[in-house]
């Protein structure tokens, strides 16, 4: 197949993945401020889109991890071809759409890595080459951050929640002013959206750069091109704006009910963890970090309960992502190996799945209009245990 055509196809697919990534991840930044009423849903989503756009311009470390580190190129490894990247992307996108439909906060990043790794393994197997994956890099920059980041964020959010409550606690029963954290949440959630842009938009930039290098259109190890940064930033911002209502439902309310002080602590912890990780080039999953923070901050509040069942469901979604996307990616790579016909089959099947899922999801469409009432209803159905009074009795003033 014509090289330029396949490169264009891969870039288009990568940008579409970027779009679904934003679509999937609006909730990371904006579920908590919407849940506490710090921002109106519409405002929250617009803000998230704008800040993702800005964040995408702020760093390229993660893009370098992807384009330069994970899959060995040339001698000793598989010669990564645009066809394989194409197959990997199909795997990632299909898995992203499925989890979006089920309302599971899976990880777009792991879907991407899973798809690419699956495709590369099949490519190596067909070529009879050795192990194409640089497992040392995969372990230290993808798998370990994936396992550690949610725990890290959870611990930090737990500590921050304790701090926020301890500092503002009043034992004399007078108003404590914790409402004021709603204002802070506007800023902290914006910071999460910004951090998301610095980490997630990078992943697509990395893939496009990898494709350009593989096709010989860009020297290996060079910087990300300017037009790649701009298109990726726009794609993720558009995706963020268009989507996420379904996920907002799971992350913001199903998990634990959120109070302003707690939401602020969780968002600050999320943003700090993601920003610090982007800085050292860890391609972690922003979704998992956000979920870890929400759980951690929930545990930091007295008398609040995390619903472990929902938390477990989310955990299973995380664990499944890498192998599941890998399987789809591998399958797509097998088909793509058949040549032009294979690529066409892949494209048709991939687009078919996307359109099918989209049409199916529209049958029970959830938009910001009906989510509001639905969530409010379920909120009333849940018995919220009131916070127990502070144990220390009155401090006479």
């Amino acid at each position: 197949m014509d090289l330029t055509l396949i490169v264009v196809l891969v870039i288009a697919l990568a940008l579409f993945f970027d779009f679904t990534n934003g679509f999937h991840d609006t909730a990371n930044a904006m579920a908590t401020p919407i849940a506490t009423g710090a921002l109106k849903p519409k405002t929250a989503v617009t803000l998230a889109a704008l800040l993702n756009l800005v964040g995408a311009f702020l760093s390229t470390e993660v893009a370098k991890t992807i384009s330069g580190g994970i899959i060995k190129e040339g001698d000793g490894g598989v010669l990564i071809t645009p066809e394989l990247i194409f197959a990997g992307l199909i795997g990632a996108i299909v898995w992203n759409m499925i989890t979006w439909l089920l309302g599971l906060p899976s990880s777009s990043s792991h879907a991407l890595f899973g798809g690419l790794i699956g495709a590369a393994l099949v490519g190596a197997w067909i070529a009879g080459a050795g192990n194409p994956i640089d497992f040392a890099v995969v372990t230290s920059k993808v798998i370990l951050p994936a396992l550690l980041a949610p725990v890290t964020a959870g611990l930090i959010a737990y500590a921050a929640t304790k701090l926020a409550y301890a500092i503002t606690r009043r034992y004399d029963g007078k108003p404590d002013g914790r409402d004021g954290f709603r204002h802070a949440q506007i800023f902290s959630s914006s910071l999460v959206a910004l951090a998301h842009g610095t980490n997630d938009a990078q992943k697509t930039m990395g893939v496009i750069t990898l494709t350009l290098v593989a096709a010989g259109l860009q020297p290996a190890g060079s910087d990300v091109y300017w037009w790649v940064i701009v298109t990726c930033a726009v794609a993720i911002a558009l995706g963020t704006y268009m989507g996420g209502w379904r996920i907002i439902k799971t992350l913001g309310t199903g998990l634990t009910d959120v109070k302003p002080a707690q939401g602020f602590a969780a968002e600050t912890a999320t943003a700090a963890t993601i920003l610090a990780s982007s800085h050292v080039g860890f391609a972690l999953s922003t979704t998992q970090v956000a979920s870890g923070s929400v759980i951690g901050s929930g545990l930091g509040r007295r008398g609040s309960k995390v619903r472990w069942r929902t938390a477990g469901r989310i955990g299973v979604g995380w664990l499944l992502t890498l192998p599941a996307a890998g399987a789809v990616g591998a399958l797509a790579a097998l088909v793509a190996h058949m040549g032009v016909g294979g690529i066409i089959i892949d494209t048709v099947v991939g687009v078919g799945v996307i359109i099918g899922i989209f049409l199916w999801s529209r049958r029970s469409e959830v938009s910001h209009h009906n989510v509001v009432s639905e969530v409010a209803d379920s909120g009333r159905a849940v018995k919220i245990k009131r916070n127990p009074k502070p144990k220390k009795k009155k401090v006479t003033s």
Partner: protein
């Protein structure tokens, strides 16, 4: 090689950053309340399991805050000092965020705009 130092660095810097930002802001709220200006911020929209607050309840909360402020044992000077302190804390919180962002992406930004 797994770079454990990088993990430690991420954890420690995120922990310190979060602690500084959250403590400063919380202290700001505490001082603002002490100065007799308890912030009453109603939700922008009752989207979630937020207990719906009626306008009457909001007024009640404001009244309670005013009453508490009147009973405050602090002198006017102390209240003024608390107010100044509150804004100083909010400023520290905001500056900490900006410094954090600069530390992380500053080099890159300088590269872009130079």
């Amino acid at each position: 090689m797994i770079d454990w130092l990088a993990f430690l660095l991420v954890f420690v810097s995120a922990l310190i950053g979060t602690a500084v930002v959250v403590s400063a802001y919380s202290l700001g709220i505490r001082l603002l309340t002490a100065s007799g200006r308890t912030p009453i911020v109603t939700p922008a929209e009752f989207t979630d399991a937020i207990t719906i607050v009626t306008p009457a309840e909001i007024k009640q909360a404001e009244k309670r805050a005013k009453k508490a402020a009147k009973k405050s044992p602090l002198t006017d000077g102390q209240k003024r000092a608390a107010l100044v302190g509150a804004w100083a804390c909010f400023a520290v919180s905001g500056v900490a965020v900006l410094v954090g962002i600069y530390l992380i992406v500053g080099d890159h930004l300088i590269e872009i705009f130079s």
